[in-house]
């Protein structure tokens, strides 16, 4: 006779809530999946993990060329390289995590079909993986900011920079929550994958990555304010580079939006996850 803890019942009901104890029992799998993704994405590549740093640098150079060079957008008196880099670093976190989470079922259906483990492990491993990548890219941001501090007299304030953390948390939460919702609906309706791509392309422009909210004309402001990520991008940049101030109400809107999407995402994912295996 084993202890009560290992007694189990299987029936037709699905769990809405997270079973923390079960998730904890699979923590080794969680970290192994992170390692697997990280190792496998750099097999047989020329530069390997250096791509984590090259990708944002190349994107920033493109932005500098187009938005500053061709279009002539201003960057609030901050050098354009660190200005674009902060926005792109946070954007990478959101878009990668959102897309990775949204493809949970399509990328792992072979495994889901053959072995049981709490399905939430997969999106959680994506969160850890993308936060690791983000941390590495944040290291690049620090190096660049320090460099501009000494060469271009960019003001640096360590304690003010800590304010960027809430922005990272909210962006991660929204990416995970909405990714979970999309993971379920795109598995059920394959045609929504097109919508997914559209959302990502649209968001690049609706998020203040290469512009600031203060530059948006009044009649369009509602559109950018509707985006719960806008305030987070502003907060992230201003805390690191000391650019224009933060709208607290907008941050709170993003935070509440995160709580709702996260709760809805987990509920839908847990509830529908079992049923999707039948049709995926």
């Amino acid at each position: 006779m084993k202890g009560y803890a290992q007694d189990w019942i299987i029936d037709s009901r699905s769990n809405f809530l997270i079973n923390i104890r079960e998730l904890f029992a699979y923590k080794d799998l969680l970290f192994r999946l992170v390692r697997k993704e990280f190792l496998s994405s750099y097999q047989q590549t020329l530069l390997g993990p250096l791509w984590v740093l090259f990708q944002p640098i190349l994107t920033v150079l493109t932005y500098v060329l187009i938005f500053k060079g061709v279009i002539g957008l201003t960057t609030e008196g901050v050098p354009s390289f660190p200005y674009y880099l902060t926005g792109i670093t946070l954007w990478n976190l959101f878009s990668e995590l959102f897309l990775n989470t949204a493809s949970t079922f399509s990328n792992h259906i072979d495994i889901f079909n053959k072995v049981y483990f709490p399905r939430l492990i997969v999106p959680l491993s994506m969160v850890i993986l993308n936060l690791i990548r983000f941390t590495i890219q944040l290291g690049l941001v620090v190096v660049i900011v320090v460099y501009y501090h000494f060469t271009a007299n960019l003001p640096v304030d360590f304690f003010r920079s800590l304010l960027s953390l809430p922005a990272v948390v909210v962006v991660t939460g929204i990416a995970l929550g909405s990714g979970l919702i999309f993971a379920v609906v795109t598995t059920k309706y394959k045609d929504l994958n097109g919508l997914l791509q559209f959302i990502i392309r649209l968001m690049v422009f609706v998020c203040p990555i290469f512009y600031s909210l203060s530059m948006v004309p009044g009649k369009l402001k509602w559109l950018v304010n509707l985006n719960p990520l806008s305030a987070q991008f502003e907060l992230f940049r201003s805390s690191i580079l000391g650019t224009s101030g933060i709208d607290h109400g907008q941050f709170l809107y993003g935070f509440i939006f995160m709580l709702i999407t996260l709760a809805a995402g987990i509920l839908i994912f847990n509830k529908m996850g079992d049923k999707l295996i039948d049709v995926a």
Partner: protein, 429 residues
């Protein structure tokens, strides 16, 4: 301990899986808002789609497995065996019913689940082990054992995409063989891999059931393996349990169901009877000598072939050849009768093949009618087909037995001390 109560599983083929949001929204709009039946619904309600397009893979399944018991599940493809195992492994949810159990469950529905081709063998041992529910410390403790069981030490740091399929299976199975759950669910995973390694794995599994009190549920088409590993067995058929009982008798009944039961051909009218101007067939019949009419023909069963024909010409010096072929066309034997002088009359012939002569497999007979033991009058090819099932006792070889025939001649061994060991061939292994 596992108790399965009234488990049913319905798959919805049309409604959930229609896969297009536009179609579902359209259907909803037409049904709920406009309150009319859409064309799509009409099509679905037609005979081809049959209402909601439901499919019950399992219907009200009940059984129990005791702690330390090995239970076999057999049945044809699509009988619901894998669905049952997937519900037990929590991969899919049952539609109705419940299962209560005690103990940690691991399931092996596929070999090498989660293997990443770009990563090394060592890395994949951990991925696969964690997916099967092992913790890091459990894997580390058994790592050396897993590696030596697989026998691919020197390729451990090579990406598995460069492995041969045999090496891949060995590595994957070695991880699985070192699981230590209380309950192990195994689907048809032994169908892959070479015979020698399959045997090693089956022996390893057999060890675990008899030594550590592990509960095993084993789904397989390898009936020999089921009878050897599992004392008790369930026969699934079209989503219900057809029969439950001790493996040997369940397997025998299952085999007998699979075998063609009609071994007699009667040709009532002259027109349809095979033959020519010399010979017309009247009937051919295969009579297995079985104690139990429910039992299948197996390698121990004596078989009698009885045939009738009409000789249509006067004063023919006729002999008959009975030929036995394997399904792939090799001739096993050609038995010739003595020649008899016959007039226009009906003649009956009979031949009995003793038990313990044919190996398991599919065979067919042909009859050749010969005049003056030299010229062929008529060849009745492939007149009867039948199958011989396998039967083994006290034997750990799970693979196909070699040879066209399987006679039971005594095979003896002598020691140096001149003690005669009177072993039959079947007891050698």
């Amino acid at each position: 301990m596992i108790k399965v109560e009234n488990i049913s599983k319905r798959f919805q083929l049309g409604t959930i899986g229609s896969g297009s949001l536009r179609r579902d929204l359209h259907g909803w709009w037409e049904r709920s808002v406009l309150k009319k039946k859409s064309d799509f619904d009409d099509a679905k309600n037609g005979s081809q789609f049959n209402g909601k397009r439901e499919f019950w893979a399992l219907k009200d399944i009940n059984f129990e497995v005791n702690e330390g018991e090995a239970l076999g599940i057999i049945g044809r493809n699509g009988a619901g065996k894998t669905t049952m195992l997937k519900i037990l492994s929590r991969i899919i949810k049952p539609t109705k019913g419940r299962i209560i159990g005690r103990g940690k469950v691991s399931s092996l529905l596929e070999i090498g689940t989660g293997f990443h081709p770009e990563l090394t063998g060592r890395e994949n041992i951990f991925i696969s082990g964690h997916l099967l529910g092992m913790t890091r410390s459990e894997i580390l403790k058994k790592l050396d054992e897993i590696i030596s069981f697989s026998g691919i030490e020197s390729f451990l740091d090579t990406p598995v995409k460069r492995y041969s399929s045999g090496m891949y299976v060995r590595l994957a199975f070695s991880v699985a063989a070192h699981l230590e759950p209380d309950i192990l669910l195994i689907d048809e995973v032994l169908a892959v891999g070479d015979a020698e390694f399959q045997k090693k794995c089956l022996v390893k599994m057999n060890d675990t059931t008899s030594n550590t009190g592990r509960t095993i549920i084993f789904v397989s088409h390898n009936l020999q393996a089921v009878t050897n590993l599992c004392p008790r067995c369930l026969w699934f058929d079209e989503g219900v349990i057809r029969l439950e009982g001790d493996s040997r008798s369940v397997v025998a009944k299952y085999l007998s169901r699979l075998q063609e039961k009609v071994w007699k051909q009667d040709y009532n009218t002259w027109e349809i009877a095979p033959g020519n101007e010399y010979i017309r067939m009247v009937s051919v019949e295969l009579i297995p000598h079985l104690d139990d009419p429910e039992a299948p023909i197996d390698i121990r069963t004596p078989l009698t072939i009885r045939f009738r024909f009409r000789n249509c010409q006067p004063k023919v010096n006729l002999s008959v050849d009975l030929l036995l072929f394997t399904i792939s066309g090799e001739c096993i034997f050609d038995i010739q009768s003595k020649a008899v002088v016959l007039n226009n009359e009906i003649v009956e012939g009979e031949c009995t093949i003793p038990g313990n002569f044919l190996n398991d497999g599919s065979y067919y007979f042909s009859l050749y009618f010969v005049k003056d033991t030299s010229s062929e009058l008529y060849a009745y090819n492939e007149c009867l087909m039948f199958e011989v099932a396998d039967f083994r006792e006290n034997n750990n070889w799970y693979d196909k037995w070699w040879g066209f025939v399987r006679p039971n001649f005594p095979l003896t061994m002598k020691r140096n001390s001149d003690i005669l060991l009177n072993l039959k061939q079947t007891e050698l292994f």
